[in-house]
């Protein structure tokens, strides 16, 4: 019961802040709301006994990615945003379209049958999932793990190569 309430709180905040993120005129505000959103998602993760992920969510997502966003947003002139149009001129229709999507998703999901629906309580030992997680990560999912490193490298190289000021060309 308590769980439900907590979840509902998190859900509410997540959705609201998501809406705000999408709707704010000033991107900096959006980033802020996004931050809020990430915190609550982390909360949801905790609800789901994924403490480690919650941490990652906060550290990487909130701590790294969002900050990066923030920097760039500030780097590039924000003031213009005040004058410029917020959304393209079709936005009302597109929102309707979004509602349509939501409707379809909702319908299908409600009709859907998930084997997990039984909803067993989480057993204690896997509560301390971090160790198991690590084990999985470094054995079965070693290949993806290594690839992830390459992806980050590519991101790095790409970012540097593209963003740095013109030099020798």
């Amino acid at each position: 019961m308590v769980h439900k309430l907590i979840f509902l709180y998190f859900a509410a905040v997540i959705l609201i802040s998501a809406v705000l993120t999408v709707t704010r005129k000033n991107p900096i505000h959006s980033v802020m709301y996004m931050l809020l959103l990430f915190f609550h998602i982390a909360g949801v993760f905790v609800l789901l006994n994924a403490e480690f992920l919650a941490a990652v969510q906060l550290i990487v997502y909130a701590g790294a990615i969002l900050i990066l966003y923030l920097f760039v947003v500030m780097l590039l002139s924000v003031d213009r945003e005040v004058t410029a149009l917020r959304a393209n001129r079709f936005w009302p229709w597109l929102i309707g379209f979004g509602v349509l999507i939501a409707g379809e998703l909702g319908l299908l999901i409600l009709q859907g049958r998930f084997p997990a629906d039984a909803g067993h309580p989480m057993r204690a030992e896997s509560a301390s999932g971090v160790g198991a997680l690590g084990m999985e990560l470094y054995t079965n999912y070693l290949v993806p793990f290594e690839v992830a490193s390459i992806i980050l490298l590519v991101g790095l190289v790409g970012a540097v190569m593209l963003a740095k000021k013109k030099t020798n060309e």
Partner: protein, 100 residues
Amino acid sequence: MIPLSWYILLSAGLFTIGVIGVLTRRNVFIVLMSIELMLNAANINLVAFSHYLQTLTGQIFVIFVITVAAAEAAVALAIIILLARNRGSIYVDDFNIMKG
């Protein structure tokens, strides 16, 4: 006990909001953030499932998603900077030299 479908509906909502953002907002940053919303929606799903299925795969997946998101964000922002430099604009609908 929280029914699984709640989580999924939540993610669905989040996903939808993200999609709407992508489709409507002109500011390229916010478009990108909306995409992040979509990813997070997926993450919620994954974690929820992994919880109810008692397999860690979902959580692992999430880790990778976050990693990729980071790399993607880096590249994206780099390109945006480039555009802002060359084109002096960060509005997606200004970027349409090529059409037809």
